[in-house]
């Protein structure tokens, strides 16, 4: 008798990660807004409170800075808290605790303490929510030494990188994107991984072009690569996965092979993750090897709109990436004015 494979969605996979952690690691607890609500954070934490008790799954007042600081405090005392921010935008109120405190305590105290706090924030954009409910800002946090930044693009990674983040002795920002919650896959058994050993991954190989992205953009890159392949263009696709500290080995190697790079990111352009990809590659690859100038696909230089027609043109799409990739591959003839 043949078994049909059981697939798990991205949101449910995150929940699996929480369940595993709460079950196997007594030092883990989670704190943040919406944890006792049936809907606040999608299906990613459903009923964890009844399963593990409201002492370990703590819903909070509307106090982002205070709650993040509290999680850090518990982390300094041997716990491995996961603080939840249902939107990146809300988390910005807690920047001091994440960037000026958590990321720096280890180095500032000569390596005598570690702060194994995981800050999980959700990118929850679209749906006409507008400028204050749509920011992702991974580029900001990837800028900060001492803070590991993780963005899974598949259900397996969503689960396993969550576990690795929480088990890391360093502070970690873990960002998941609600637009990925629709993805499903068959999950392998859980394996505890060392986050320090995780990094970018080559998820498809080709000779013509290197596509680099993280999180939902990595997903878009994979889709675009499939479409481009149908057009006879074969891509290396790199899913960044761990944005900070960034290991650029793979992307440099790929750029040397293809000579062409398209960096895709769902954040803004200036000083963004796509800029980092291009800078890292440009610094390390002999320009004579490049067959075209590298290019970025990012958000336009504007806050997120609400109106649906504007929203549709705001976010990078597979179509747009394909179109830019085609231009890039034809770009040996491109003229630079």
């Amino acid at each position: 008798m043949k078994q049909t494979p059981v697939t798990t969605g991205y949101g449910a996979a995150i929940r699996d990660g929480f369940e595993y952690l709460l079950q196997n690691h007594p030092s883990v607890f989670t704190i943040g807004q919406g944890l006792w609500s049936p809907w606040y954070v999608g299906n990613s934490m459903t009923d964890l409170d009844s399963q593990f008790g409201r002492e370990r799954v703590i819903d909070t007042p509307v106090s982002e800075l205070g709650c993040t600081g509290a999680a850090l405090g518990a982390a300094l005392c041997g716990y491995r808290p996961i603080v939840i921010h249902p939107r990146v935008d809300f988390m910005l109120l807690a920047v001091d605790q994440i960037v000026t405190q958590a990321a720096k305590w280890r180095s500032m105290f000569g390596g005598q303490v570690c702060a194994p706090i995981t800050v999980r924030a959700i990118i929850n954009r679209g749906g006409e929510q507008g400028a204050q409910h749509s920011q992702s800002l991974q580029s900001w946090f990837a800028h900060i030494p001492g803070l590991r930044v993780v963005m899974p693009s598949t259900p397996t990674d969503a689960r396993d990188l969550l576990i690795a983040s929480v088990l890391s002795d360093d502070p970690v920002l873990y960002l998941d994107d609600r637009w990925l919650y629709g993805l499903e896959e068959e999950l392998p058994p859980i394996e505890e991984r060392n986050l320090a050993q995780e990094g970018p991954r080559l998820t498809r190989t080709g000779q013509d072009l290197t596509l680099v992205g993280c999180s939902y953009s990595a997903h878009l890159c994979r889709e675009a690569a499939a479409r481009l392949s149908a057009n006879g263009i074969e891509c290396d696709v790199i899913d960044i996965r761990v944005l900070n500290p960034l290991d650029s080995t793979l992307m440099i190697k790929s750029a040397k092979k293809t000579g062409r790079v398209l960096a895709v990111d769902g954040d803004w352009r200036s000083c963004g993750m796509a800029a980092e990809v291009i800078a890292s590659i440009s610094e390390a690859v002999d320009p004579r090897v490049m067959r075209a100038a590298p290019r970025r696909v990012t958000l336009p230089d504007a806050p997120a709109p609400t109106s649906s027609p504007l929203e549709r043109s705001y976010y990078p799409t597979v179509d747009y990436i394909v179109q830019r990739a085609l231009a890039l591959v034809g770009a040996q003839q491109e003229t630079f004015e």
């Binding site: 809300f90 749906g127 336009p300 230089d301 609400t306 109106s307 649906s308």
Partner: protein, 361 residues
């Protein structure tokens, strides 16, 4: 001068909501000063308009026509309308995520709101804001945004500006009980208190922040104790009683305009719909369902209508007309908005900086 909290335990009672929190209380007719009849009649009309607009939006949300997140104010119409009665030209009002009522109470156009929630260029925010970002400068609404607590310091700044202007104008900050948990709230109260800025802080305490009851978020249910701590004169009133809201507002606004500095109002009320969206029961448990049934008997509209009828100021026919008129206005506004245009593609980049276009990508 050694002292401790043991010395002050007695008056902690002043900071309990008492029967204001009891869903079963406050069903009897309002105490109305006949001198206030006229204002209450127009307030009633305004509350009915808000109710009808909100129900329309709720329907359109349920049909999937309106897609932006809408936080409906049904059941909480009185605070906005009561306070708006004392807002004059030159004052600046700020709201939050649940601000359709504030917008309409100040005289905002139903068409402008209904166009905005559809993302149309004719919306009050030109289709760039949706339900959660409303503005109406001509009517004194200087902005509403959904980052909890964010407009509170902004309102204090508007108060500082009003003080500098020296015309006796004030700023008004509407926010919920949840917002009092944000540090921004406390920093703002202290700043306004220290600078004696003319700011009216209005907390609509509806017991809930999203799915969570205030008793799970704070050690006490009345938030006036924060005003007391920051030495901001405060008053608490039934937020479902337009007459009581008006009285409390009047006193506070007079003090503010007299240069006495900020004032704080806690208006106790209840929302009928879920935190976001059109449903009644999207959030939470049984207790809330029972309470809701009782709170519906404390409906700010029907309780006022009954009282005004008892008073002789209102008759059945007139009340019916208020409702019909509101429905007509709203349906016409909706129809018009539905035919309006979306913002042009260039709006995305042309509205970022003054006078220049932002870069495409």
């Amino acid at each position: 001068m050694r002292a401790s909290s043991a010395d002050t335990s007695a008056e902690r009672n002043a900071f309990s909501l008492g029967n204001l929190a009891d869903a079963g209380s406050y069903h009897e007719p309002l105490l109305i000063d006949p001198l206030d009849n006229e204002a209450l009649m127009s307030g009633l009309q305004r509350m009915i308009l808000i109710r009808v607009v909100e129900e329309k939006i709720g329907d359109m949300v349920s049909q999937g026509v309106v897609k932006c997140p809408c936080h409906l104010v049904i059941g909480q119409e009185a605070p906005a309308v009561g306070v708006a009665g004392y807002v004059r030209k030159g004052d600046r009002v700020f709201g939050a995520h649940r601000s359709h009522g504030h917008f309409l109470a100040l005289g905002g156009s139903p068409h402008g709101l209904l166009a905005e929630v559809q993302g149309k260029d004719t919306g009050v925010s030109r289709g760039m804001g949706g339900s959660m970002h409303l503005i109406d400068i001509p009517n004194g609404l200087f902005g509403t945004v959904p980052i909890v607590g964010a407009t509170i310091p902004i309102a204090v700044g508007a108060g500082i500006a009003a003080k500098m202007d020296g015309n006796g104008d004030m700023a008004v900050s509407f926010f919920g009980d949840g917002a009092t948990e944000e540090g921004a709230f406390h920093e703002s109260m202290n700043l306004a208190s220290t600078m004696k800025a003319p700011v009216l802080f209005v907390c609509e305490n509806n017991f809930f922040s999203s799915h969570l009851h205030i008793n799970l978020r704070q050690p006490d249910s009345s938030v006036c104790r924060y005003a007391e701590a920051h030495r901001v004169g405060w008053a608490r009133a039934d937020g479902n009683d337009l007459a009581a809201v008006r009285t409390a507002t009047k006193e506070a606004v007079e003090a503010i305009r007299a240069g006495e500095g900020p004032r704080f109002l806690e208006l106790v009320t209840y929302r009928w719909r879920g935190h976001v969206g059109h449903r009644e029961d999207e959030d939470v448990g049984v207790k809330r369902k029972d309470d809701l049934a009782a709170w519906k008997l404390r409906d700010p509209i029907s309780r006022l209508a009954v009282s005004l009828e008892a008073n002789g100021a209102l008759d059945r026919q007139q009340l019916k007309r208020f409702w019909t008129e509101a429905h007509t206005v709203v349906e016409e506004a909706w129809a018009e908005a539905s035919h309006d245009q979306y913002p042009p593609a260039k709006a995305l980049l042309s509205r970022v900086y003054s006078g220049t276009m932002a870069r495409k990508r």
